[in-house]
Amino acid sequence: MQPLTRLLEAALFAAAHPLTLADLARLAPEASRAELVQAVNELREHYEQGEHGIELLSLADGFQVVTRPRFAEAIAEAQLVQRPRKPSRAALETLAVIAYRQPVSRAEIEEIRGVNVEGMLRSLHERGIIEVVGRAEGLGRPLLYGTTSLFLELVGLGSQDELPRLEELEVALRPPTEQGEFGEP
């Protein structure tokens, strides 16, 4: 590979978007348009002849190096593309409240965490980490949430009982006691 082709390969690989000829000209200002096109072709042929797992395409939005379609299935199968993500702090806090307080209503979670958790509950529910386990008595009969077996699987626990017992935390996470205890204002 000639030096320009190497630079081109690095740039195509690292760039956050497909590259146009104008992008390539900015990358190598001293190279002529013909030289750039030649380098693109050299790289394309290199990937063809060397029987690479990748190929260079020129599409409407520019040049891009992509994996060959025939490998797509195996890659998707192995779930390699997206790295596991840590749940956000807000998600973890909500999950912590549910894990230790279940069955628990949205109002209780919001009282403990002090923020609206509607969207968070929906997203945790969509991912199958929490589920609706019943309805509370009383006004509006609100839905009660609990954690699922997928949750246990994710945190590597065999059962809910294996969650570390945290007496002090359970006390602290107890929702404010029944109204009656405080009397009416």
């Binding site: 690095a10 690989f13 690292a14 760039a15 956050a16 978007h17 497909p18 891009q64 992509v66 998707a76 779930q79 593309v81 997206q82 790295r83 596991p84 993500r85 840590k86 749940p87 702090r89 973890l92 806090e93 999950l95 912590a96 409240v97 894990a99 230790y100 009282e111 403990i112 965490r113 002090g114 969509e126 991912r127 980490i129 949750f151 994710l154 945190v155 590597g156 626990l157 969650l163 570390p164 945290l166 935390l169 602290a172 996470l173 929702p175 404010p176 006691t177 405080f182 009397g183 009416e184 204002p185």
Partner: protein
């Protein structure tokens, strides 16, 4: 504690704000810059220079630096105390500081190495753009029990004030006090204030009771009377009670 006159001496060192990652870093800088034997630190001099430096750097509001300054002064004083005749049992008050400095210096060196590594790694770009895949399942989650426990602590830390407060102090309970007063009058016609307040009343008990009394007097359930200034309050059941 700023006994060191600002800018009174020509500093043997050039210092920049934010050039130091902490008090140990600053201290090591002073020691190494002046080629001081770390095993025999002239604490009095170093303590003065340290104070001057944090003053000049505007670091004198940073607790970490003040703590170190206090420690240096403490060592300085300990060194002034008379030592036992036989030095067998004498412990150099600087020993612990020297141990920490050496340990920190090592970490500082590793950090410098990491700075170099990060800089090299920063020149290696990973693939920047990934074409959209036809269907993208939600990313798998990485979840651990420990993260969950940390989250529990954060929840507790961040719990909104009202929740914490409602558990501890009792709010005013006028209704409860009213019930209690009515109960006292069920068998008698006159009660004094202390009987209503009971043993060891809290501020909110007292306030609740007073509000209840005023409320009951207003609706004509009872009369309040004070026969002499500063005398005790006499509370009588009203003869004609409209609510009875």
């Amino acid at each position: 504690m700023t006994t060191v006159p600002i800018g009174a001496s020509e500093s043997p060192f050039v210092v920049r704000l934010d050039a130091f990652s902490g008090p140990l870093d600053l201290l090591l800088h002073l020691i190494r810059e002046q080629e001081i034997d770390i095993a025999d630190i002239p604490i009095a001099t170093i303590a003065d220079q340290f104070l001057e430096a944090i003053n000049e750097l505007g670091l004198n509001e940073a607790a970490d630096y003040l703590e170190m300054a206090a420690q240096l002064l403490r060592i300085k004083i300990q060194l002034l105390l008379p030592r036992p005749f036989d030095e067998e049992g004498w412990e150099d008050p600087r020993a612990e500081l020297v141990r920490r400095l050496l340990e920190y210096e090592q970490i500082r060196e590793v950090a410098s190495w990491l700075v170099e590594q990060v800089s090299q790694q920063g020149d290696r770009f990973p693939r920047g753009w990934l074409p959209e895949l036809p269907e993208r399942p939600p990313r798998p989650l990485h979840l651990t029990v420990e993260d969950l426990l940390l989250a529990v602590e954060q929840v507790i830390e961040a719990m909104p004030e009202p929740v914490l407060h409602r558990v501890v102090p009792r709010p005013l309970d006028v209704e409860g006090a009213t019930t209690r007063i009515r109960a006292l009058f069920a068998s008698r016609d006159e009660v004094n204030l202390w009987e209503i307040l009971g043993d060891g009343p809290t501020i909110s008990d007292i306030l609740s009771s007073l509000l209840a009394l005023l409320e009951l007097a207003k609706i004509g359930f009872l009369h309040l009377a004070q026969h002499q200034p500063f005398g005790s309050l006499v509370i009588n059941r009203a003869t004609a009670d409209p609510t009875a």
